[in-house]
């Protein structure tokens, strides 16, 4: 998944680089090509203007001959007796002709022109030239933005999850060490300890096996376990925007009226969970698919997942 997004990035970047690599000479060729087509017609190339039917196969000698022949009729000296407007037009046209002559008679410039003539010219858009196929249209722009946002979101999501995991683990250790009198070793008497934070008024219960619970005073003093492993530090594809956005759009349009709606349920199993409902094997960590617990959003924005109801009731 990450590799794929990188590939998309690389492709987009390369497309921009190839655009930026055009030299000033290339831009001159583009602009000259546009002007000639505007003046004479779309079907004209530098070669056909000079009357060279063989196109890029023409020899330099043939080009020179054709260029001179055309100069003889187009040179502004031949328009001295014409109106001012005609003279101006003749001058501009000859200016273009002499540039065409320069390009076609210069080996490297001609190579560039022949290349563009063969592969197609980029089109002028706004302030620069872009190839039509590389030019990001509306859809392409939305797509690129989607990829970029999706990637950032996914990276951010992963980092957030890891930080949350660490923070909860730290908090647990802190509560534990306070409850156990500065030690991280459970007291020998096997008792559970109760601890109240005077600043927030929150009460924690630390069980002898090291698990930490918060007392939910709003809810009949129910105990809610704090377990960092409830956080999935490796979010899957279904949690990324690459999946969520299209599926959200799908489910709210087509999926809403047909039976084709996509299942967005995210399944996560806490592999460190102690399973109490199996008394004969209560310390063993098992791989068991559990229902996803309640999602609780803490006031500071953290998201923790509660244990599934069944598990909680068994404590």
């Amino acid at each position: 998944m990450r590799l794929a997004s990188f590939a998309v990035f690389a492709f987009v970047a390369l497309a921009f680089v190839s655009a930026a690599q055009w030299s000033p000479q290339d831009y001159e060729i583009f602009s000259l090509n546009d002007k000639i087509k505007k003046d004479l017609g779309q079907e004209y190339s530098f070669y056909s203007w000079l009357g060279l039917e063989q196109g890029p196969k023409a020899t330099t000698k043939e080009i020179t001959k054709a260029y001179r022949k055309l100069s003889r009729t187009l040179h502004p000296d031949k328009y001295k007796g014409s109106s001012r407007k005609e003279r101006k037009h003749a001058e501009e046209r000859f200016q273009r002709l002499s540039l065409v002559g320069n390009i076609l008679r210069d080996v490297s410039l001609r190579k560039r022109y022949d290349y563009f003539l063969d592969k197609g010219f980029p089109e002028r858009r706004g302030t620069g030239y872009y190839y039509s196929k590389f030019r990001p249209g509306f859809i392409a722009t939305v797509f690129i933005v989607f990829i970029i946002i999706g990637t950032f979101h996914f990276v951010g999501l992963t980092i957030n999850r890891r930080q949350d995991f660490k923070r909860i683990a730290d908090m647990k250790n802190q509560v534990k060490s306070q409850a156990w009198g500065g030690s991280l070793i459970a007291p020998n008497d096997g008792s559970d300890r109760r601890l109240t934070n005077e600043a927030t008024g929150k009460t924690f219960v630390v069980k002898n096996d090291g698990s930490v619970f918060v007392v939910d005073t709003d809810n009949n003093d129910e105990l809610i376990e704090i377990d960092e492993h409830d956080i999935n530090v490796e979010p899957g594809f279904k949690e990324s925007l690459f999946f969520k956005i299209p599926v959200y759009i799908w489910n709210n349009t087509v999926g809403k009226f047909t039976s084709l709606s996509v299942d967005t349920t995210i399944v996560y199993q806490n592999q460190h969970k102690k399973i109490f409902e199996l008394p004969d094997d209560d310390k063993k960590k098992t791989k068991k698919k559990t229902q996803r617990g309640n999602k609780i959003e803490l006031p500071n924005g953290k998201v923790v997942y509660g244990r599934p109801n069944g598990t909680r009731n068994r404590k």
């Binding site: 001159e28 602009s31 020179t64 001959k65 001179r68 022949k69 100069s71 003889r72 040179h75 502004p76 000296d77 031949k78 001295k80 007796g81 001058e91 501009e92 000859f94 200016q95 002499s98 540039l99 002559g101 320069n102 302030t127």
Partner: protein, 653 residues
């Protein structure tokens, strides 16, 4: 195929030519040289040189001033040259070397010590000239006076239906920059001559060489070493198309430098022979030596050894120096060698080898020097062509180009190039070229400019011409300011600036902004008017031009009046000659009293003609005409008597 072309030409030419001719009745070609100028015109498809009053095919490019009360007497050409020795400080020669230059230019500073007249710095930094009585003028004005003289030479040669001459093609050294070209073109404006085109001297010479000669198609090198400048151009001539491949040169290398060298040699020799007597501050003496030096230099092109004889150069001292051709060659070798580099660069720019050159043409008086011919021959491994006259080819070519512009000559076209790269200053004083040298003109390049900081409303563009990589080594053409740019974030305005070099090699810069003004701008909804201002412009200001034109118009009336007197004098002169011839033929049959009376009248009229021509007394044309008529009648009656007498004698027999 050929026939078809001829046929179409035959049908098209008359009507088209007629239309064009009405536009430019006659376009003269002027070779405005450093030391000599020439004028030519195309008639009946052939170019010919027009001779001046003295019968010279070239006219010295010398202008002198003398003050008489309120008015200045201006002499141009041979007359100015003749009085140079007695009026050296007010006789201006070789001013083409100063045109379009700054006083601070190295070349101008070098000339300061070598010329007898005063050069000073005008308020805009240009090199200007001043007479001893305080008349100040730009080198353009001197050129204008020479152009005017050449125009008069042309007019005196042309039939009345072609007068007045209004249009000209003027030549300049190929390696002239924009300022020098503009200044030359301006000169024409000062004397009411419309300079249709400024054409490069070597290109013009090639035109004169290759016109209507199909067998001369090929690659031609023109080696042009004139009085003040050196140019080398390589052209490809094919079927009436003259395409310049490359050009190079040195605008401060020519016969003048040879003269100065020889002048200093003579001064040094004189000093040595006369116990350290230094006469280099005696301007009259220096002027005499300068003339002798030039004469000796020219002589040594034809003979092996010459003597420089100037009696009484100062008090009782004389100059008498023997000089051989070999000595001159050795002395000037370093100058001759200065031509080699430009030739090599030109070949390289044209992407040609020496063996590709089919023909070498020599232009300019200095190419008559045998040593230079030898060097050129060795350089190109080929004997130079003698097909063109080195003094006249340029003017003939200019006339041909004039005929091309007027439509008289239709199957010829000149594809010339710009000799110097045009570019702008970029960050750190770096010169970044936009139009490389040897690009065919006219040419136009567009460059997009933007702003460097937010809400910037002006951009300054400094345009330079030259080949060096730092702008400070190149010639500043202009300082263009773009104003009224709509305020916006940096980089957002898109200002397209067009850099254009026209067929004269003169630069134009124009700007258009592509961004519309924002709604809150005071310019909103107004047509976008990014303006371009030229600061630090060189040459004459509009005001100065206006003043000079006004003065010239004032003189024009006086000139026209004088012309009237001259015309009557000329008419009287012709009738006098006729009368004298008649007296010679029939005199022996006339009564001696009659004969004497007629001869006396002729004499009296001749005196008056001389008075008019020498400007001493302007006799009333009506009186003069009356006298002439009387003389004519007397002569006719005498002849009638003679014929009656003869008839009587015949009947007697």
């Amino acid at each position: 195929m050929l026939r078809a072309i001829l046929k179409t030409r035959a049908t098209i030419t008359p009507s088209k030519t007629k239309a064009s001719r009405s536009l430019h009745p006659s376009v003269i070609g002027i070779d405005l040289g450093t030391t000599n100028s020439a004028v030519a015109i195309v008639e009946g498809g052939e170019a010919r040189i027009l001779e001046n009053d003295e019968g010279g095919r070239t006219t010295p490019s010398i202008v002198s001033f003398t003050r008489h009360g309120e008015n200045d007497d201006v002499l141009v050409g041979l007359a100015a040259r003749r009085q140079a020795a007695i009026n050296p400080e007010n006789t201006f020669f070789a001013t083409k070397r100063l045109i379009g230059r700054k006083f601070e230019d190295e070349e101008v500073q070098r000339d300061l010590a070598n010329v007898p007249y005063k050069i000073f710095s005008h308020s805009n930094g240009d090199a200007w000239l001043s007479t001893t009585f305080g008349r100040k003028m730009s080198p353009s004005e001197i050129s204008a006076l020479i152009l005017k003289k050449m125009k008069e030479v042309a007019e005196s040669n042309l039939p009345n239906d072609k007068l007045p001459v209004k249009h000209a093609v003027v030549t300049v050294p190929a390696y002239f920059n924009d300022a020098q070209r503009s200044a030359t073109k301006n000169s024409g404006k000062l004397v009411g001559l419309d300079v249709l085109r400024v054409v490069n001297e070597p290109t013009a010479a090639a035109l004169a060489y290759g016109i209507d000669k199909k067998q001369k198609d090929g690659i031609v090198a023109v080696f042009d070493l004139g009085g003040g400048t050196f140019d080398i151009s390589i052209l490809d001539i094919e079927d009436g198309v003259f395409e310049v491949r490359a050009t190079n040169g040195n605008t401060h290398l020519g016969g003048e430098d040879f003269d100065i060298l020889l002048l200093n040699y003579i001064l040094d020799t004189f000093k040595k022979e006369n116990n350290g007597l230094d006469i280099s501050n005696d301007r009259q003496a220096v002027q005499r030596i300068r003339e002798a030096a030039e004469k000796a230099k020219i002589e040594l092109s034809h003979i092996k050894e010459t003597e420089i004889n100037i009696p009484f150069i100062t008090k009782d001292k004389h100059i008498n120096i023997k000089l051989t051709e070999d000595e001159l060659d050795e002395m000037t070798l370093h100058l001759i060698n200065k031509t080699l580099d430009p030739v090599k660069r030109c070949l390289r720019d044209a992407e040609l080898k020496i063996k590709d050159i089919d023909e070498v043409i020599l232009v300019g008086g200095m190419t008559r020097m045998p040593k230079i011919r030898k060097v050129v021959e060795e350089l190109f491994n080929k004997k130079p062509s003698t097909a063109v006259n080195p003094d006249e080819a340029v003017a003939l070519g200019a006339a041909i180009q004039g005929a091309v512009l007027s439509g008289q000559i239709r199957d010829v076209v000149l594809l010339d190039v710009t000799p110097l790269s045009l570019g702008i200053e970029t960050y750190g004083g770096i010169f970044s070229p936009l139009i490389p040298r040897n690009s065919a003109v006219p040419v136009k390049k567009e460059q997009i400019f933007s702003t460097a900081v937010d809400n910037q409303t002006g951009v300054e563009i400094r345009v330079y011409q030259g080949e060096r990589s730092l702008v400070k080594d190149n010639k500043l053409i202009g300082n263009f300011k773009l104003a009224n740019i709509p305020a916006g974030p940096k980089g957002s305005p898109q200002i397209a600036v067009n850099f254009e070099i026209d067929a004269d090699g003169i630069i134009n810069v124009s700007a258009t902004d592509r961004t519309p003004y924002p709604e809150d701008s005071e310019y909103y909804n107004k047509p976008n008017s990014v303006s371009i201002q030229v600061a630090g412009e060189t040459g004459l200001s509009e005001e100065e031009v206006k003043k000079i034109i006004e003065e010239s118009a004032k003189n024009k009336e006086r000139d026209a009046e004088l012309r009237k007197y001259y015309e009557h004098a000329s008419r009287a002169d012709i009738i006098c000659t006729d009368t004298e011839n008649a007296v010679l033929q029939f005199g022996k049959f006339m009564e001696s009293s009659e004969k004497e009376s007629i001869n006396n009248k002729v004499e009296a009229i001749r005196v008056k003609i001389n008075d008019i021509r020498e400007n001493t007394t302007l006799h009333d044309p009506a009186l003069l005409n009356k006298e002439v008529t009387e003389m004519q009648e007397e002569c006719l009656s005498a002849i009638r008597k003679v014929s009656i007498k003869q008839q009587e004698e015949q009947t007697k027999k």
